[in-house]
């Protein structure tokens, strides 16, 4: 029982269940319905809205695991969305699957390039991640504006919009794609040595280097991947509404904060060294559910940040040692900590 209480995912799941329960209690329609060949209902809404935040949160998890941070994801989303929308606006035949495919590829390439730029500065020049991605964040919004000429470009391409609005067997396509990408990333970091290398770099880049891990390469790869996933998120979110909003409160604004929040809720420490993609997925769902709860409770959507803040503060306080000390006797708690630390070491050695 004590173990369960100390497990961060336990608390996070509890929060998610409470949030979903609140939504269901306040919503008159069936929790999962079926109309016009589409699954509908508040729970399905969750799956429709989760993909963008899930994608950037996954990238953010890996970046944070290297004890870095990526503040630029929101801006990269806007840049990627702007590129794809501007391409569709200028293309002669935006509704063909070919045009939609090229738009997606262009967005991915641009996102990857943004991520690689940050990655280069962090890994080769060895700038601090915070400031590097802050620069990218500042500049990215401007670049998105330049791409569309300051306008909110609307692509008018149902083929492109299908990515986010379409359904397969009534289930949202966007979520299935996001799930597939998530699985690929999980396999990549857990079935190869990549995940362990990322954690090693997060714990101590110097020691990792001595152990034969090319810290620089890992860092570069992580930021590039974060840029790429941010581009995917950008495609999802512009495809959902059919336009890209380049203003500072438009596409992807504030998403970096949501993503960081999702990661922290998921139990990945901002200090780096360990990460938990399952937790991040849970965190992404919590953020999405939180946005919904506020709507169903009839609170103005402008007040959402205050609710988010209370949740973060609650979780941070729960995670702090001071509270852990209250749950368990002090001497017992310490020995537990030591044990878990030892088993962690053993895991790393074994891996």
């Amino acid at each position: 029982m004590k173990k369960l209480l100390r497990n961060q995912l336990f608390w996070a799941s509890l929060v998610l269940i409470v949030l979903v329960a609140v939504v269901l209690l306040n919503n008159q329609s069936a929790s999962i319905g079926f109309s016009n060949g589409k699954l509908t209902g508040p729970i399905i809404d969750l799956f429709i809205f989760v993909p963008p935040i899930l994608m950037i949160a996954v990238g953010m998890t890996l970046v944070i695991a290297t004890s870095g941070i990526d503040l630029s994801v929101g801006s990269v989303m806007a840049v990627a969305g702007a590129v794809s929308m501007q391409f569709l606006v200028n293309s002669a035949n935006p509704d063909t699957p070919g045009a939609a495919l090229i738009a997606v590829l262009l967005a991915l390439v641009v996102g990857l390039a943004c991520g690689m730029f940050s990655g280069f500065l962090v890994s080769v020049i060895k700038l601090q991640p915070f400031i590097t991605t802050l620069i990218m964040m500042l500049a990215g919004r401007g670049i998105a504006n330049m791409i569309t000429g300051g306008k909110n470009a609307a692509g008018n391409s149902p083929a492109f919009n299908w990515i986010s609005q379409g359904r397969v067997l009534g289930f949202p396509v966007g979520f299935l794609l996001a799930l597939a990408i998530l699985l690929i990333v999980v396999l990549l970091v857990r079935k190869t040595a990549l995940g362990m290398s990322i954690e090693a770099v997060g714990i101590n880049p110097r020691a990792a280097e001595m152990a034969g891990i090319r810290s620089g390469r890992i860092l570069f790869m992580v930021y590039a991947l974060s840029g790429l996933l941010a581009a995917v998120a950008g495609v999802f979110s512009v495809a959902y509404i059919g336009t890209v909003e380049v203003s500072s409160s438009g596409t992807g604004s504030g998403m970096e904060m949501d993503a960081i929040l999702a990661v922290v809720i998921g139990g990945t420490s901002l200090a780096g060294g360990k990460f938990n993609l399952a937790g991040t997925t849970l965190g992404a769902f919590i953020i999405t559910a939180l946005n919904q709860v506020v709507v169903y409770l009839g609170v103005s959507s402008a007040a959402v940040p205050a609710f988010k803040a209370l949740v973060i503060i609650f979780i941070c306080i729960l995670q702090s040692d001071r509270i852990h000390g209250w749950f368990s006797r002090p001497d017992l708690g310490q020995s537990d900590d030591k044990k878990s630390a030892d088993s962690d070491k053993a895991k790393v050695v074994a891996a």
């Binding site: 400031i131 500049a139 330049m146 960081i260 103005s300 007040a303 941070c316």
Partner: protein, 361 residues
Amino acid sequence: MSSDTKVAKQKTTSKPGFRVSRTTYPTIAAVVLLVILLVGGQLIYGKIFAWNTFSSLLHNNAYLVILAVGMTFAILTGGIDLSVGAVLAFASVSGVLLLQAGVPWPLAAVSIVLIGTLFGLLSGMLITYFNVQPFIATLSSMFLARGLASILSTEPVRVPKESPMLDLASKIMLIDGPKKNDLTISINILIALAVVIIAFFLLHNTRFGRTVYGLGGSEQSTELMGLPANKTKILVYLVSGTCAGLAGLVYTTTVGNAQNITGVGWELDAIAAVIIGGTLLTGGAGYVLGSVAGVFVLGVLKLLITRDGNVPAAATTIITGAILLVFVLLQRAISLTGGERGSEAAASEIEKEQEKAPALS
């Protein structure tokens, strides 16, 4: 990398008499950039060296100076305060609502400042008592303040026109130039000036200031030296929050209204100004006067871009980003040449310890 350090070492040895600390270089660079921008602007667009240009620079940037001063404290300790923009918005919205409800203006003004202090206290408590990282703690303060501001009102709220609080921003003539070329100041500018002077005194002449620098250098050493690390950290976020409140007062009186979306992204402007001014983001080194120079670099840049008229507004953020990048690269080059010896020493110490280790076991 090694060739770089060699070059840098040669440079330092070639100037034996030059006693300016290495960490001062970025600040000097910021001042040089400011002068270049001013002189270049004067040569290209004219009317930069004019009293009214300076006056409007001061009027438009007084709030950012105050924010940057507060941010300097947070960054010097190796922390960060992301909440300043949102706290500013909440403080000013609630202050204006108090005014509209008929509360006397001095009380409203004080409450604006104190709301900032309260949020600083919240961040500080989270950071010191619950070991939350400054980034996350101030992020949650930011969300909280922004959300509370939105709950109060999503519409702009106006300061009553007859309120004497607006006198804080009214212009006081200092030099009556020909035509409209006047040098004017306001109480707001004097507030900003006072904040800068007080901050300078606190940082360079008090034990609190030395502890702030110490925390940024090494928190552990500071604690081992018996300096009050936790108390100082809370005080730093109190200072930063109070500055955000003061900046809210200054900004509200300048524009005459307050809104829940005021100050979105201003924390980044403040951070940019502090970094350009030569404060290391890792803490421990920097100058509050450099931050002021950083604010004016950004201010003059915006001025020149509007004067030019051909540069799209979107390019402003790109240019700001580029300048920030240049300054961070400069700092990196300096810390590389300065820090390499330190890390070499650390490495040799580690080697020594490794030699000792078998003997001990």
